[in-house]
C-alpha cells in the first residue's frame, strides 16, 4: 500500500514542488487515476461534480495554450465555472497591483486562482495574503509544479506497466534531463519532484545552459549526452528557447544538434526501454528529431493527457481537503 494513504492533504495552495513532502506528492499522483478515466470518458462518465458551483479563475500574465487549456478543461470536468483573465484585458494596464486585482477577483467569491506570471515568487506572495486556493501555473524561471507532477505520474505509470508491479515507485529510476536547464522552470520543478520520489536525475547540456551550482540540488551533471543516457530509464528533452539565442549561450544551433539532439543515432546509446519526454512545444529536429518525437518510445502526448487528470487531482485536493484560511 502506498505511503500516501496515511497522508492527509492540508495545504491551501500549490505554489511549488519544493515545499511538498514525498507523501504529499504521492497523494496527488494516487488521486489522479480516477480522473484519467473521467478525462478519457471511460465507462461513460464525462464529468464529476466535485467542484460544482465553484469558480476557477485562470489568470495568465504570459501567453499559453496548453497549460491554460489544460487547467480550463480540468476545471470544467470537475463541473466548476471558469473565468479567464489575461494580462492584456486586465487592470494591470491601469497600474493596479497584483494584490488589488486578486482582492477584487476574490471579492466576487472565487475558489481557485490559477496564475502564470513572469516574476518568480508571484504565486507565493499572493498565496500568503489571500484566502483563495492559489495554483502556480509557472512563475518566471522558478517552478511549474503541475508539469512536474504530470511528468512524475507519466513515468510512474510506465514503470508500473514495465515492471508489472502496480505499486512500483520511482525509487532508483534514472531520468536524464537534456538541454537548457538554466532557463527552465520545468527542469527545476522536475528535479525537486524526482529527487523527492527517489529517482536519480542526471542533467546534460552545454555548460552555458546548466546552472552554476546545480550539483547542490542533488543531481549528476555531464556534458556528454551518451554518458547521460546510457543507463537512463527516461530521456527528458527540454525546449531550446530560440529567442534567447541572441545572447549566444551556445556556439550555434548546428553545434547543439550535433552534441545534444535526441535522434535515432544518439538513441543507440540508450537502453531499449527508455522513454522520451518533452514539456512542449517541441522545436522539431532541434532538441528532438522528428522520428524520435513521433516514435514508439515517445510519451509526449501521454504527458499532455495526464496533465488534465493531474490538474483535476490538484484542484480537487485543494478545494475539498485543503486548509482554508480566511474565505
Amino acid at each position: 500500500m502506498s505511503e500516501s494513504t496515511q497522508i492527509a492533504w492540508n495545504r491551501k495552495d500549490l505554489t511549488g514542488i519544493e515545499p511538498l513532502s514525498r507523501g504529499e506528492i504521492e497523494l496527488i499522483l494516487d488521486t489522479a487515476p480516477q480522473f484519467v478515466a473521467v478525462s478519457k470518458r471511460q465507462s461513460g462518465i464525462k464529468k464529476v461534480p466535485l467542484l460544482q458551483g465553484r469558480l476557477v479563475v485562470n489568470w495568465f500574465h504570459e501567453p499559453s495554450t496548453r497549460t491554460r487549456t489544460s487547467f480550463e478543461l480540468a476545471a470544467k470536468r470537475l463541473s466548476a465555472d471558469t473565468l479567464s483573465i489575461t494580462a492584456s484585458t486586465s487592470s494591470s494596464v491601469k497600474g493596479e497591483t497584483l494584490h488589488d486585482t486578486l482582492a477584487n477577483i476574490e471579492a466576487m467569491h472565487s475558489d481557485v486562482i490559477v496564475i502564470r506570471h513572469n516574476c518568480a515568487g508571484a504565486p507565493h506572495i499572493l498565496a500568503a495574503r489571500h484566502a483563495s486556493h492559489i495554483v502556480n501555473a509557472g512563475d518566471g524561471r522558478h517552478e511549474h509544479p503541475t508539469q512536474a507532477l504530470l511528468d512524475a505520474f507519466t513515468i510512474r505509470e510506465h514503470v508500473r506497466k514495465h515492471t508489472s508491479n502496480p505499486e512500483a515507485t520511482l525509487d532508483g529510476v534514472k531520468v536524464a534531463i537534456i538541454g537548457d536547464v538554466e532557463h527552465s522552470r520545468v527542469a527545476r520543478s522536475d528535479i525537486w519532484c524526482l529527487n523527492k520520489l527517489g529517482a536519480r536525475v542526471c542533467l546534460c547540456g552545454p555548460a552555458t545552459l546548466l546552472p552554476m551550482d546545480v550539483e547542490r540540488m542533488g543531481v549528476e551533471v555531464t556534458h556528454d549526452l551518451r554518458e547521460a543516457i546510457h543507463d537512463a530509464d527516461v530521456i527528458y528533452a527540454l525546449r531550446i528557447q530560440l529567442e534567447r539565442q541572441a545572447k549566444a549561450l551556445f556556439p550555434s544551433i548546428r553545434e547543439y544538434i550535433r552534441l545534444f539532439r535526441i535522434d535515432s543515432d544518439s538513441l543507440q546509446s540508450a537502453p531499449a526501454h527508455a522513454l522520451i519526454m518533452h514539456p512542449g512545444p517541441i522545436n522539431r529536429d532541434l532538441e528532438l528529431a522528428t522520428e524520435v518525437a513521433d516514435g514508439p518510445r515517445s510519451v509526449i502526448l501521454e504527458q499532455v493527457s495526464n496533465g488534465v487528470a493531474i490538474r483535476m487531482a490538484v484542484m480537487h485536493l485543494l478545494v475539498n481537503s485543503g486548509n482554508k484560511s480566511g474565505s
Copy 2:
C-alpha cells in the same frame, strides 16, 4: 414597507440612472439581497435557474477586468450561457456598424447585451432600435449605471446596519465625492442615483476636474476637502486617470495629494462612522492612502461583491419582468 413593492419593472433596458424613478432604483436594490446570498454561496445555493437557457453577450469596446468579470459571473450564477465579444475580435475592424453587429448577434437569439463603449449614448441608440435587453456597462464619460446601483446598495446596507433599521433609506445621508468628477461616468451616475434616493451629494476637487455647470445637477461643490468631508457619511474617492495628466489638468500629482488625498491625516476631519468607497482600480497613495484603502472604514471590496448581486438583480428584472419590444 419599501416603496418599491408597489412598483413593477417594465423597462426593456438599463441604459442609465437618469431615466429611472426612485421607485425603480429601490426595486433593483430590494431585488439584490437574495442574490448576495447566492453569490456568497450561503446555505449551499450556488446558482439559481432564473436565466436558464438564456444568452448574455458581453460586448466590450474598452478593456475591463472587473466590470466584464462581474457581469459574466452574474450571468453564470443565473444559469445563463455567456458569450464574450471584444472590439479586437469583432467585425468592427471590418467596418461593420454597431447596429449591424448587434443585429447579427440578435439573429442568433441573444437575450441580454451588456455593452461598454467609448462613445456616450451608444447603448441608448442600440436600445432604441433592437429587441434585446441592453445593459449599459459604461458609455464614454456619460453613465455607468450598475456601478451607481452597487454603490447605493452598499451605502444602504451600512446605513441600515448602523441605524439598526432594516428599512432605512438614503434620505439625508451625505456623500462626498472627491477628485476627477469631470471625466467620470461613475460620478455622473452616482450623482443621479444618490439624488433620486434622497441623499445629499457634495463634490470636491480641483476646479479643472469639476464640470462647469455641475451645480445644476443639484449638488454642493467645494474645493476644500475638509469642508467636504467634515459631516460626510460616505467619502467616495474617484480614480485619477494618470494618462490625462499630459493635459496638465492639475498642477502636479504632489499638489493633488497634498490637497485632496484621503489619508489618516485628512480623515481626522471626518466623522468616525464615515465609509470609504472607490470604484477601482485604485492608484494607491494617490487618491487614497494605503492605510485608508485597507483600513476598517473601507468598504471597497464589499462594493465589488455587491456588484455581482446587483448585476444579477438587473438582468433578472430585465429578462423576467421587463417589457419586450419585438423579439
Copy 3:
C-alpha cells in the same frame, strides 16, 4: 420523401462542399429544422443533450465574430463544452506546427475541432492525420462549407414557403452571385453547393473579380448586372474587401457602385419575389444599398439565424453518426 432519408452520414469531417454528394448535403439540410426550433427556444426547449460532455474547440487563425460566435452557440445549445484558441494566444507564436498543436489539443480528448485558417487546405491536411472531427470554418480563398449550407437551407426554406410545397428542392432555382467572386471562399462553396442541389448559378462582376476559368465550375458568367438578375430567384451580393482595393482590381468604388450595386434602382430589373442575401459583414451602400439590405426581400439576418442550426446539425452528424478513425 426526400432523397436524404436513404443516406447515412459516415464522414469523419466537414472539410468542404466539393467532396459531398447531393444526398449528404440534403441530409444536413434535413437535420437542421429541429435545431432551428431549439435555437429559437420554441416550445420551451433551449438545449439538447446531443453533445453532452463533448468538447468542441474553436481554433481561429483569423479574426471572426459571426462564424466563431455561431459555432460556439451551436456547441453550447448541443450541451457541449467549448474552448476557444486564437492564433495570438496559441503556441504558433512559439513556432509549433499545426499538427503538433492539434495533437496536443487532441491529447486532452477533444471531439470536434472547428478551424479557420488563412491557408487553403489546412483543414484537409489536419483531417487526414488526426482523429478529431474537423470542421472547416473557412480556409483561405478555398471553402467555407457551413456558410454554403446555411445559404442553401435559407433558400430552400423560402422556396418551400413560396411554392407551398414542403418538399420542394433547389432544382431549377436561379441564384445570381454578384461581386468579388475571385477572392471569396463563400462563392466557391456556394457554387459547389448550389450546383449539386440542381440550382443554376450566374456570376456577375467586373472581369478582374471573376476567376479566369470559372465556367468550368458549371456556371453562367456575365458582366451585366441586369442580365444576371432579370430572372434570378436569389440575388447574392458578396462583400467587397476594401483592403484589396490597393491592388486596383476595379477602376473605382464609384464605378463599382454604378455598375454592380444592388439598390432599389437595379432591383427593378429583378423578379418581385427575388431574395436578397449576403454573407456579412455588409459594406452598406457599397455592394448593397441600405434600403435593400434592410428591405422586405432581404433574408440576411435569417441566414445568420439558420447558421446556428446548420452548425448544430453538422456537429451532431459528425459526432453521433460520423465515421471515427482512431480516437
